[in-house]
């Protein structure tokens, strides 16, 4: 003993090093979704992949390049006796994500996690789920859809409203019909159409009114660029969904993912620890302050 600590004792978990030290998992599959987005499945038969809840994120390491926070985009347990896999859809925007994007099957990617708060889909039991996705924001929301589909009778309506930059940027298009058959109402729009597009063109919030939501019974899950989450939350609130039932997934610069590095602060929130999923009654005012 070397003197008293002023705080409560640290919670030491059995593998304390793993919070700082990554485990390397193998890329089991790599699927190109759009021009700059891929979905990777990570697994390692020799060591179990940790369980991630929808909304949580992993810090992914590209060997020798660096590390970034990426939300999970699938449910780990796909059943069928297969080893649990981590699914991440990511976009190549910088050095680390470019390296991750290019990782071929068989290569190794470091994983730290699970970190952060979850979408807590179960808390919306008995309610209508209103899922609004902007661009690659659909990736962290996909586990919400899959969770609800796996237990369909537990929820009311499942409404998915998704917007993308162009038709070529839409994610998971091959799954949408399966989701519709499973009982998800899917509405899609793009900001800019190409000549082959016969669907809706306009901002994702234009999909809210025609959805005919019942605000008293809805829980909203919103993910996309900061500005998109702001105006979507405003539009949902204008329809009467209370801020406490609108959840967003915040994003900030992260170097550690576990509350030690100070980078991910948004006012009083540490996004890695108090988020990334935060309800709007906490987040909305903070998101409105310039340069917070």
């Amino acid at each position: 003993m070397t003197g008293q600590r002023t705080a409560s004792p640290a919670l030491i978990e059995p593998a304390a090093e793993t919070a700082a030290v990554p485990r390397f998992y193998r890329v089991a599959s790599r699927r190109e979704d759009t021009a700059d987005t891929v979905t990777l499945e990570l697994t390692e038969p020799a060591q179990p992949v940790p369980a991630f809840a929808p909304g949580q994120f992993a810090m992914l390491t590209a060997f020798g390049v660096g590390e970034v926070p990426i939300s999970v985009s699938g449910l780990g347990d796909s059943g069928g006796g297969r080893a649990r896999r981590l699914e991440h859809t990511l976009r190549a925007v910088g050095a680390v994500t470019r390296a991750l994007h290019a990782a071929p099957p068989g290569s190794l990617i470091g994983v730290r996690g699970p970190f952060g708060t979850s979408w807590d889909v179960a808390s919306a039991s008995g309610r209508d789920l209103v899922i609004v996705a902007g661009g690659i924001g659909l990736a962290p929301l996909r586990p919400v859809v899959l969770t609800a589909l796996a237990d369909r009778s537990r929820y009311g309506r499942i409404v998915l409203l998704t917007g993308a930059r162009t038709p070529g940027d839409l994610l998971y298009t091959d799954e949408l019909d399966r989701w519709r058959r499973g009982g998800v109402e899917v509405a899609i729009t793009v900001d800019r159409a190409d000549s082959g597009w016969s669907g809706q063109v306009g901002l994702v919030t234009a999909l809210i009114e025609p959805a005919g939501l019942a605000p008293d019974n809805s829980v909203a899950f919103v993910c996309g660029p900061d500005v998109m989450m702001r105006f979507t939350a405003d539009a949902l609130a204008a329809r009467g969904i209370p801020a406490s039932r609108i959840r967003v997934s915040l994003e900030r610069n992260m170097r550690c993912g576990v509350g030690w590095c100070g980078h991910c602060q948004l006012g009083p929130l540490l996004v890695c620890r108090d988020g990334p999923v935060v309800s709007c009654d906490r987040a909305a005012a903070l998101m409105r302050v310039r340069g917070l």
Binding site: M1, L11, E17, F63, L108, N253, G259, P268, L292
Partner: protein
């Protein structure tokens, strides 16, 4: 409650007096137990924190003159070794070092024939956590009460949450803390306002009060832990008589009355939250250079960044953790640009975190009143004055609202 009325301030019966010439024995006792002694010493015109090879390296007879944006050594009229404040370094240099290796990994790329006669590239890796084997053990000699509190604050941030920082944990578990109470606060000091000085009640293995009156250089020492008592037993000392103990207590209590500054702590977190859109940030930004000095000298600023490096083969990778500052332009980098680009937003972030949102995140203030940020700011920005300015603006705003 005034310090002298606090029953916890009553001297314990185990206080002893160690003469200044007993310090080498303290060093030997520490080194004999495998500690590296770290303490104040003069280097480059300042009193810094460094490994001490011997007692002689302590800054006997040296004090400091501090003010906003000013720090100078001055010769004292006595031989005090700990009669100085607000040095440019703090104990985070030891416990939370500026550079630390988090882990290293080696990768082997080979080819494997699968049963379908295809070959595929398979990588394997072995990962080693850094500093895992034998973290160094430091004896921190001369930790001021403000810095004792700062160590407690870093404990909460780095090992008091759900995940414990292994580098800090390793060094902290092995650390031996010798606190030295203050009898001579500096002009930039305000530990009394922050409730963590100039005396210290806990968080140390040994606590010393330095006395130099009448040419009799001695320390009143008490143990705070069994490990402290164990070390103290190897140091020549005599029982402290009542008068000496009283003298030490009074010296510290009087220091509480002579703080150079004070911080209006009442309602600080709310004041800062209410001041998010204050016009005052423009005023600070016109002075603040965003140089980050304050974050470097602050004993509780803990922000770090990471850097992944490889050797030339690309198969040996290391992740290093480095000190970072919220004043750095890319600190808040996200999607092609930073969130906090302006000086206003970065200064606001620092002071609001330190005095306000730290409470939300870690359950206490992040400030210990050591005054280093005031002394080491090149333009002399004074955190206590900035708070007063914000408070007056809030009062004006409140008065305006009340007007019919």
């Amino acid at each position: 409650m005034h310090p002298s009325e606090d029953p916890a301030r009553e001297p314990s019966g185990q206080a002893v007096v160690v003469d200044a010439d007993g310090l080498p024995a303290l060093f030997d006792a520490l080194r004999g137990r495998g500690y590296t002694v770290v303490g104040p010493t003069i280097r480059d015109g300042a009193i810094v924190v460094a490994e001490l090879a011997s007692v002689a390296e302590l800054p006997f007879g040296w004090g400091v003159e501090t003010e906003a944006g000013r720090y100078r050594l001055r010769e004292r009229s006595d031989t005090a070794a700990f009669g100085h404040s607000a040095g440019p370094q703090s104990w985070k240099s030891v416990l939370h070092p500026p550079r630390a290796k988090l882990w290293s990994a080696d990768r082997v790329t080979g080819t494997v024939k699968t049963s379908t006669v295809e070959t595929s590239t398979v990588e394997t890796s072995s990962v080693k956590a850094g500093e895992a084997a034998e973290p160094p053990r430091y004896a921190l000699l001369g930790v001021r009460p403000c810095d004792v509190r700062a160590v407690g604050i870093l404990d909460q941030v780095l090992i008091g949450g759900r995940h414990a920082d292994p580098v800090y944990r390793g060094r902290r578990d092995g650390a031996f803390i010798i606190a030295v109470e203050c009898t001579e606060p500096g002009a930039t000091c305000f530990c009394t306002s922050m409730g963590c000085g100039p005396g210290v009640e806990s968080g140390f293995d040994l606590a010393m009060t330095e006395l130099t009156d009448a040419g009799d250089h001695r320390f009143v020492v008490r143990a705070g832990t069994a490990a402290g008592a164990d070390v103290l037993a190897d140091v020549p000392s005599r029982a402290a008589d009542e008068a000496t103990v009283r003298h030490a207590v009074t010296a510290v209590d009087e220091a509480a009355e002579r703080m150079g500054r004070s911080m209006p702590v009442q309602g600080l977190p709310q004041l800062l939250a209410d001041s998010r859109e204050s016009p005052h940030w423009d005023d600070v930004a016109s002075r603040c250079l965003t140089c980050g000095n304050c974050t470097m000298v602050c004993p509780t600023c803990f922000c770090t960044t990471t850097e992944d490096v490889t050797d030339l083969t690309g198969d040996h990778a290391e992740r290093w953790r480095l000190w970072d500052s919220c004043f750095a332009l890319d600190f808040s980098y996200l999607h092609g640009g930073s969130v906090r680009t302006s000086g206003q937003s970065r200064y606001r972030q620092w002071i609001t975190h330190k005095l306000g949102t730290w409470h939300d995140q870690f359950g206490s203030s992040g400030c210990v009143g050591c005054g280093r940020c005031i002394a080491w700011c090149p333009v002399g920005i004074d955190i206590t004055q900035e708070v007063s300015a914000l408070a007056s603006l809030q009062d004006v705003a409140a008065t305006d609202e009340d007007r019919p």
